[in-house]
């Protein structure tokens, strides 16, 4: 029964992906991509990765889907030029070897190994949190996560440099049900974000999932309730987008001074420090997602001239 479910999910993923890439209409393609992201988050649940399911649904399917849709609308959903290099030769040259290599790797790896699970579980007590994924993310491999936050910041700065900081149009004045439903959703989203953040120390959840929920709530609020959205500039912009990276750096340097190693936490304070970093990362992830989405909208000036 479980195998049947796995086969159906896997086949569904591949089918939706092929359709998303090759559907004739671009609009259909983007909607299918969002469906692909949601199917993928179902697979994450099936494979015991609830953290990823949350992040994939909100960021992978949600934010990436919204950005693709916005860009497709501006580039035009019109006819695309035919495919560059047609046919079987290219398929044989590119796709098949890679698919084959991953397939061979799959069969070669099929034996049982412990992986790094035992190593992580053995030291989990000292990490300051009880959820192994959060322990890896913010303690054992904190360096990776710090750089990830910087990559997100770099993307925000890049998009800002390309699109400028002019005000963006909202979708208002919207008819009454929309603002009212935002008034209901917004407090719920804030509570939900706070809960996910807190919950991340003992169970799936954490800074990025909380940031994604808060960010989408912020986007919804700005779009629906503001006719024009002024983007923050200068220090306010830097502080909101850079908070996570700065908090990481400060805690990391404190570790270097006190414990002799960058991002090394004293065991007794590890839980508190991790929660502080997560709070900062959640806020700047939310801000980053809001900036990335608003940056994708044409500015008020461009819209008037168009």
């Amino acid at each position: 029964m479980e195998t049947l479910l796995d086969l159906l999910l896997a086949a569904g993923l591949v089918l939706v992906a092929v359709r998303a890439i090759h559907a004739p209409a671009l609009f259909t393609a983007v909607v299918l991509y969002i469906a692909f992201g949601l199917l993928l988050s179902l697979v994450w649940v099936r494979l015991g990765a609830a953290d990823l399911a949350l992040a994939e649904a909100a960021i992978g399917a949600g934010v990436t889907g919204a950005l693709l849709l916005e860009t497709a609308a501006q580039l035009g959903f019109g006819k695309e030029r035919p495919m560059a290099l047609r046919g079987i030769p290219l398929l044989v040259l590119t796709a098949l070897p890679v698919a084959g290599a991953v397939g061979v790797a799959t069969f070669a790896l099929a034996g049982e190994t412990a992986g790094l699970k035992e190593t992580v579980l053995a030291r989990l007590q000292e990490s300051g949190v009880e959820h192994p994924v959060t322990a890896v993310l913010l303690n054992f491999r904190g360096y990776d996560t710090w750089l990830e936050v910087i990559v997100l910041l770099a993307a925000v700065l890049g998009v800002r440099a390309i699109t400028g900081s002019a005000a963006r149009p909202g979708i208002g004045p919207a008819s009454a049900p929309l603002p009212r439903s935002v008034a209901v959703v917004l407090p719920l989203a804030i509570v939900m974000g706070g809960y996910l953040l807190w919950r991340g120390t003992t169970a799936p959840g954490g800074a990025f999932q909380a940031g994604a929920v808060l960010g989408s709530a912020g986007i919804l609020y700005l779009l629906v309730l503001r006719p024009t959205i002024e983007l923050p500039r200068g220090v306010l912009f830097g502080a909101s987008a850079g908070l996570g990276a700065i908090a990481f750096l400060v805690v990391g340097m404190a570790g270097l001074a006190l414990e002799g190693e960058f991002l090394e936490y004293p065991t007794s304070a590890a839980g508190l420090l991790i929660l502080l970093i997560e709070l900062a990362v959640a806020i700047s992830t939310a801000a980053a997602l809001i900036f990335l989405f608003l940056g994708a909208r044409p500015s008020v000036r461009e819209e008037r001239s168009a």
Binding site: I21, L40, L47, G48, T64, L67, A84, A95, F208
Partner: protein, 102 residues
């Protein structure tokens, strides 16, 4: 047939389909979409590896790695799409010129 084999093979196919899409499709949005499908395949492979000893506590290290990967891939997509929009508003292009290819 274990879940690891099913999803591992599906991951291989997704990476292949994605590469093929990046190489053959011309529209920017379509190429960035295909790149994300490729990324999805890579993520799926690593998460299937994390699960290969069964449902009893999957390996947390690949899971943390992919959580990082999801955030990095939305960053890459957002920047790539911004470049595509900027190119479109300056030149009206929706794809790269193909003089180099032919």
């Amino acid at each position: 047939v274990t879940p690891f084999l099913v999803y591992g093979v599906a991951a291989g196919v997704l990476v292949g389909v994605g590469i093929h899409g990046v190489a053959t499709r011309r529209n920017f949005v379509r190429q960035i979409l295909a790149l994300n499908v490729m990324g999805g395949g890579t993520f799926l492979f690593l998460i299937a590896v994390a699960f290969r000893n069964g449902p009893e506590t999957p390996d947390p290290v690949p899971q943390a790695l992919i959580l990082t990967g999801i955030v990095v891939s939305v960053s890459v997509s957002a920047l790539a799409l911004a470049i595509a929009r900027a190119l479109h508003s300056r030149s009206g292009r929706t794809s790269l010129p193909d003089e180099d290819l032919e």
